[in-house]
């Protein structure tokens, strides 16, 4: 089972480098899709197997090198849930690509970049340490910059440039954060960093400076307001399956997931950071919804709506951290976390569905302007029906999945006595219902307009992809059923709430490795000098054998002073 973990990254990575060659060999565009679809299906099967296979977190040491030296990949409940979501959306988006991408050139490069992005996202959710996560965020990021520009028209290039510049700023912030955390704790491994923070008696000022850099970096990647400027340009400019991937999973894997890992698994659900998450979440939720309501372009509306919906997830998780610090019962905290993660999964499904539908509509009519559309349902019954399911799901109409996750979030906020936040969430849900009513009225309602009149139903591959997601919109409601929930969602919720020094990642280390580490660590600390021979090995993992010239704390204070004014 443990050997599945690296394969989740290695298979798409290898496929990514093979595809440009395969694409050249297979002359026909449709056949170029075979290998990526096969790989995505295999990855999905493996991810589902991991999710259902075992309860205990799995740690894989890359190259067989054990604890002090090696790099770890960790698959706990949250990682597995994310891996399944990523693989599902990827597979559907690839199915959709077969026909949709026939209007573009170089299918080999497209599928190659797609698989690189998939490998990057799987790497992000399975990484056991900060720097590896950073590297995989970059892999996924660079592939997505190129994919946004894939159309190579002026809009795409401009959007990609903007996305790349802000993405690079985010990466630089993350790297600075990593440097600061390494300076204070001497570790990069999530669990060891958490332990280091716990030993210091909770986060200190230098660690909060590092946290500020991380929050800015992940906030940019997740497009939380006020770091959202790139998203409404980048997501609509990409080809539709890529928009679905970016909005559906990329901002969640390299933004929200990383943020959650950082706040909960490393900082142990620190309430100060919890409040920051709440503020970011509320801002994103409210402003995203208000800006979405004013859009005339179908895909831009969906992009702003992504900002708003991701705000729900971040708000719920931030509220969970704050509630726990206030001593609210574990059940309610767990409900908030569950609501957040459930909404994350649901948003991946219905936002991917809506972006694919917008792609189908654009494919058939050649326009994305809401006012030029109308009566799509008459000419394209399948796409129209799927679009309606997606719009109803995201507006939170029962019995579709969006209703349940929003309900859980609001109930958890009320039970946790955060009435104002619950009210804001309710109001934003109503706003969401309003602007998706507008989408339905313009796109589906009325007589077919001039541009819609000649439209035909899209080819089978695209239709199958949208129908699959529409079915998933109904099926994911089942995640709220206790039996399914305890199997799929609860391990993920536990991985979040059990964060901190005593978190699951701590237990991951095998007994042997931990004993070795303890022996080495204690010895070093007591003697103050490096034990012979161990030094380089210990270094290779990331512990500082001896304090730097300033001492760990001192130098960080210096850097803190450098930025504070």
């Amino acid at each position: 089972m443990a050997h599945l973990v690296p394969l989740l990254v290695a298979l798409p990575l290898a496929g990514g480098f093979l595809m440009p060659v395969v694409g050249r060999l297979t002359g026909r565009r449709e056949s170029a899709a075979a290998l990526p679809i096969l790989l995505a299906a295999v990855v999905l099967v493996m991810a589902v197997w991991l999710l259902l296979g075992a309860d205990e977190p799995i740690t894989y040491w890359v190259g067989g090198w054990d604890f002090p030296i090696g790099i770890s990949m960790v698959a706990d409940g949250l990682s597995r849930l994310m891996a399944v979501i990523v693989a599902t959306i990827s597979l559907v988006a690839l199915l959709f690509s077969i026909d949709y991408m026939s209007r573009f050139t170089s299918p080999g490069l497209y599928y190659g970049l797609f698989l690189l992005m998939l490998a990057g996202m799987n790497g992000v959710v399975l990484s056991g340490d900060l720097f590896n996560m950073f590297v995989f965020i970059e892999v996924a990021g660079i592939a997505s910059y190129a994919l946004v520009a894939f159309g190579t028209e002026s809009d795409e290039l401009e959007a990609s440039f903007k996305y790349l510049v802000l993405g690079t700023v985010a990466s630089a912030f993350l790297l600075v954060g990593i440097a600061l955390v390494y300076n204070v704790t001497g570790h990069l491994n999530w669990a060891k960093v958490a332990e280091g923070i716990a030993q210091a008696g909770g986060p200190t000022v230098p660690l909060y400076v590092a946290a500020a850099f991380f929050l800015m970096g992940f906030g940019l990647k997740a497009a939380m307001v006020p770091f959202h400027a790139w998203l409404p340009d980048a997501h609509p400019s990409a080809p539709a399956p890529i928009s679905a991937m970016l909005s559906g999973v990329l901002i969640k894997a390299s933004g929200v997931y990383a943020l959650v890992r950082f706040v909960f698994s490393v900082f142990g659900g620190d309430p100060t950071l919890g409040w920051v998450l709440i503020v970011l979440g509320v801002l994103s939720m409210v402003l995203g919804a208000l800006m979405a309501a004013g859009q005339e372009d179908f895909k831009r509306l969906l992009a702003y709506s992504s900002i708003s919906q991701v705000g729900y997830v971040v708000l719920a998780l931030g509220a969970a951290a704050v509630m726990r610090a206030r001593g609210v019962s574990e059940g309610i905290v767990g409900l908030a976390v569950f609501g957040g993660l459930f909404h994350l999964a649901n948003h991946a499904v219905f936002k991917a569905l809506l972006f694919l539908c917008s792609g189908s509509v654009e494919y058939a009519t050649g326009t994305r302007q809401l006012k030029e559309l109308g009566g799509i349902g008459r000419r394209m019954p399948v796409t129209g029906a799927c679009l309606r399911v997606g719009a109803l799901a995201i507006s939170g109409v029962p019995p579709l999945n969006g209703f349940w996750s929003k309900l859980f979030i609001i109930v958890a906020l009320v039970l946790g006595e955060m009435y104002v936040l619950a009210a804001v969430t309710g109001v934003v849900s109503f706003l969401t219902l309003m602007y998706y009513a507008k989408v339905q009225r313009y796109v589906l309602g009325g007589e077919p307009s001039a541009s819609v009149d000649r439209a035909r139903e899209v080819p089978a591959g695209m239709a199958v992809a949208t129908v699959l997601l529409a079915v998933l919109c109904v099926a994911t409601s089942l995640l709220a059923v206790p039996a399914v929930r305890s199997r799929v969602m609860d391990p993920a919720s536990r991985a979040v709430t059990a964060g901190g020094a005593a978190g699951p990642r701590e237990r991951l280390m095998t007994a042997d490795a931990e004993a070795t580490e303890r022996a080495a660590g204690r010895e070093t600390r007591r003697a103050g000098v490096q034990p012979a021979g161990e030094a380089l090995a210990v270094d290779a993992h990331g512990r500082r054998p001896a304090p730097g010239p300033l001492g760990a704390r001192g130098s960080l204070d210096a850097t803190g002073e450098g930025t504070a004014p």
Partner: protein
């Protein structure tokens, strides 16, 4: 505040310079230069974090083992922390690929607009 903190402060200043170029400059090439400065400020900071002097004083050496396995102990005592250096190497490679991509984008943008001025590239509302 000792002299040893000066490199850290300068690295942060460099970070601010890079951010300033990205935010304030309206020329695609200058923004790219800003990205590079920002990137290298982060790399520099990471290398500085790994700097440490040997316990018995004197200047540290590079963490490269030249004298065979016998020299391990001496090297471990005298060398700077090798981890950040490994991280920076990775980061430089990432920076290289981002730079290659952004320069390619800049060339394509120039072909479309005939200018590097971002004020004249305003199709998208932001």
């Amino acid at each position: 505040m000792t002299l040893a903190m000066l490199p850290f402060i300068l690295a942060f200043l460099l970070l601010v310079v890079g951010l300033y170029a990205i935010v304030a400059k309206r020329n695609v090439i200058k923004v790219i230069v800003g990205i590079l400065v920002l990137d290298y400020a982060a790399n520099l900071l990471l290398v500085l974090v790994g700097y440490r002097t040997p316990p018995e004083g004197g200047a540290p050496v590079a963490p490269i083992l030249t004298g065979g396995v016998k020299g391990v102990d001496a090297l471990a005592a005298a060398a700077v922390d090798p981890i950040p250096q490994a991280l920076v190497l990775t980061s430089i490679v990432i920076g290289l690929s981002v730079t290659a991509l952004v320069v390619a984008l800049a060339i394509r943008l120039y072909e479309k607009y005939g200018t590097f001025d971002t004020n004249l590239m305003r199709n998208l509302k932001g």
